[in-house]
């Protein structure tokens, strides 16, 4: 299930993104209050979560000691695990000082999906068989190679760079310009999903706060900076004139959406409050992306545990 189909829609809004882009990623004191106000569990259990800022909360992910229950003498520990957060302190929260704006933008994007993107994608899906749409998706994924390569390099992760490069070479040649994905049949050449927002996160830059862009979807100041960088590393962005770029970009989104129709609907159906659900899902998803790159790079199966 892909919980947020809008995340990648760049379209014309990148210009807006640039204008608002590189804000201070460190949350100022101003945002600390809302950060606490929106924590998702009631005060008596927020021991770990009422960390002074979201950035600190995020850092806890790498330093479990900081979040260890032992250092919280005031709170009587329950025997029941379910009340505490999971041991990895992976509880993802994100400050949301702009909630009224974000809620409005959430509704806007929701309408965009149901009124525009989905009907178009459905029509497209009815005409184009799935294998072709998967190939188109592979093609655009392959084109994003510079984003991945540069992100791996910025993260000083050379094995990652080698793998994404090998994948690019194999899929561009044997895979006919990236339409097919023969590289994935090699277990050593699995996809690495790296991006610049994640790279910033790996170096300790916090999300800041929740920020929904029109069309693009859930983001944050940090990830917006990342998105702008990703934009300039994506060859399609250099298509000229602008309407060719817009058409290609739009087509890419329609194709991608055609492969996940129903996911967003199911997500909404399952949610009690879709706005809060999306915010949390996005925060978890992005945090995990960063943690993956921070922690043990490639967690292997411990000896004795069979791989299936």
């Amino acid at each position: 299930m892909k919980p947020f189909p809008f995340v990648v829609v760049l379209w014309a809004l990148v210009a807006v993104g640039c204008a608002h882009g590189p804000q201070s990623a460190a949350p100022s004191a101003h945002f600390d209050q809302p950060a606490q106000a929106m924590t998702i569990v009631p005060a008596s259990y927020t021991v770990k979560e009422t960390a002074p800022s979201p950035q600190v909360a995020q850092n806890n992910a790498t330093t479990p000691g900081a979040a260890a229950p032992g250092v919280l003498p005031t709170e009587p520990r329950e025997d029941t695990d379910f009340m505490a957060e999971t041991p990895s302190a992976e509880t993802a929260t994100i400050a949301d000082p702009l909630e009224p704006y974000n809620r409005a933008m959430f509704i806007f994007n929701d309408r965009m999906y149901f009124w525009l993107l989905k009907p178009v994608a459905q029509g497209y899906k009815a005409v184009i068989p799935e294998p072709a749409r998967v190939s188109v998706n592979n093609f655009f994924y392959n084109l994003r190679y510079p984003v991945r390569a540069v992100s791996c390099l910025f993260q000083l992760d050379f094995p990652c760079f080698a793998i994404v490069s090998a994948r690019f070479v194999i899929n561009t040649t044997l895979g006919i310009a990236g339409l097919f994905d023969p590289a994935s049949s090699d277990p050593n050449l699995q996809k690495h999903d790296v991006d610049l927002g994640q790279t910033l996160g790996k170096y300790g830059v916090g999300q800041g706060f929740y920020l929904i862009w029109p069309v693009i979807g859930p983001s944050s100041p940090r990830d917006t900076v990342g998105l702008v960088g990703d934009f300039f590393l994506y060859p399609v962005s250099y298509l000229d004139p602008w309407y060719v770029w817009l058409a290609v970009r739009g087509y890419q989104e329609i194709n991608a959406t055609s492969l996940v129709i129903g996911d967003y609907e199911a997500f909404k159906e399952a949610a009690i409050d879709p706005y809060v659900s999306m915010r949390n899902a996005w925060a978890q998803y992005r945090q995990k992306r960063v943690e993956e790159r921070r922690g043990a790079e490639q967690p292997e199966a411990p000896p004795g545990v069979p791989r299936y």
């Binding site: 379910f82 041991p87 199911a266 159906e269």
Partner: protein, 201 residues
């Protein structure tokens, strides 16, 4: 000749006995085996073309009851808020929440037919909790789905599902937490009742 046959039979009997004795620890199936068997049961139902949709749902419901620990799922989804609900409210919450989940995911699940599921490995969380990593391979992508299971009653039952790195109980915890920070537990139950009713129509 006869004696050889008899001996053979005895040997078989003996080896079966030995096998039964030595495989006694297998009674406590590993988390991975438990999840694997549960998921395979689900897949069997989904792939059974002779079953009507309603019959499939009925069978899936039975598997779900065996596979999930509904009370724990509710507890984890409410976190600290669980104690804010009275016992009666807790008892109403568990089946209501279950219905919300069923309505939301049953159709989605029924749409899956030919996807392959890979069972990767298990990761110990605590002595009584384990995460089992699996992947669903579809035509266009791989979706990592991890089951967090809890020991109890001699078996492992699921209390959380992590889909594409998003924990289900954490996600619900954020929603329930948000609602309960502004409303009473009774109002939360009312929201759930309304949701279930809307889903039915």
């Amino acid at each position: 000749m006869k004696s050889i046959k008899a001996m053979k039979r005895r040997m078989v009997g003996l080896s079966l006995l030995l096998l039964a004795l030595f495989s006694a620890p297998a009674w406590a199936a590993t988390p991975l085996d438990t999840v694997k068997s549960d998921v395979n049961q689900v897949l069997e139902v989904l792939r059974n073309k002779s079953l009507k949709e309603e019959a499939k749902k009925e069978k899936l419901r039975a598997i779900y009851k065996e596979m999930f620990n509904q009370v724990e799922l509710s507890k984890w989804s409410l976190g600290g808020n669980w104690g804010k609900l009275s016992e009666a409210q807790q008892q109403e919450f568990v089946p209501l929440f279950q219905q919300v989940l069923e309505k939301a995911y049953a159709d989605k699940l029924l749409a899956y037919t030919n996807e392959k599921v890979l069972f990767d490995r298990e990761i110990k969380i605590t002595d009584t909790r384990v995460e089992v990593k699996t992947r669903i391979v579809t035509a266009s992508k791989e979706i990592p789905i991890n089951y967090r299971v809890l020991q109890g009653g001699g078996t492992w039952k699921v209390y959380d599902v992590v889909i594409e790195n998003v924990s289900l109980v954490q996600n619900y915890r954020s929603q329930f937490g948000d609602i309960l920070s502004k409303n009473t537990p009774e109002q939360l139950l009312e929201t759930l009742r309304k949701k279930v009713k809307d889903q039915k129509s």
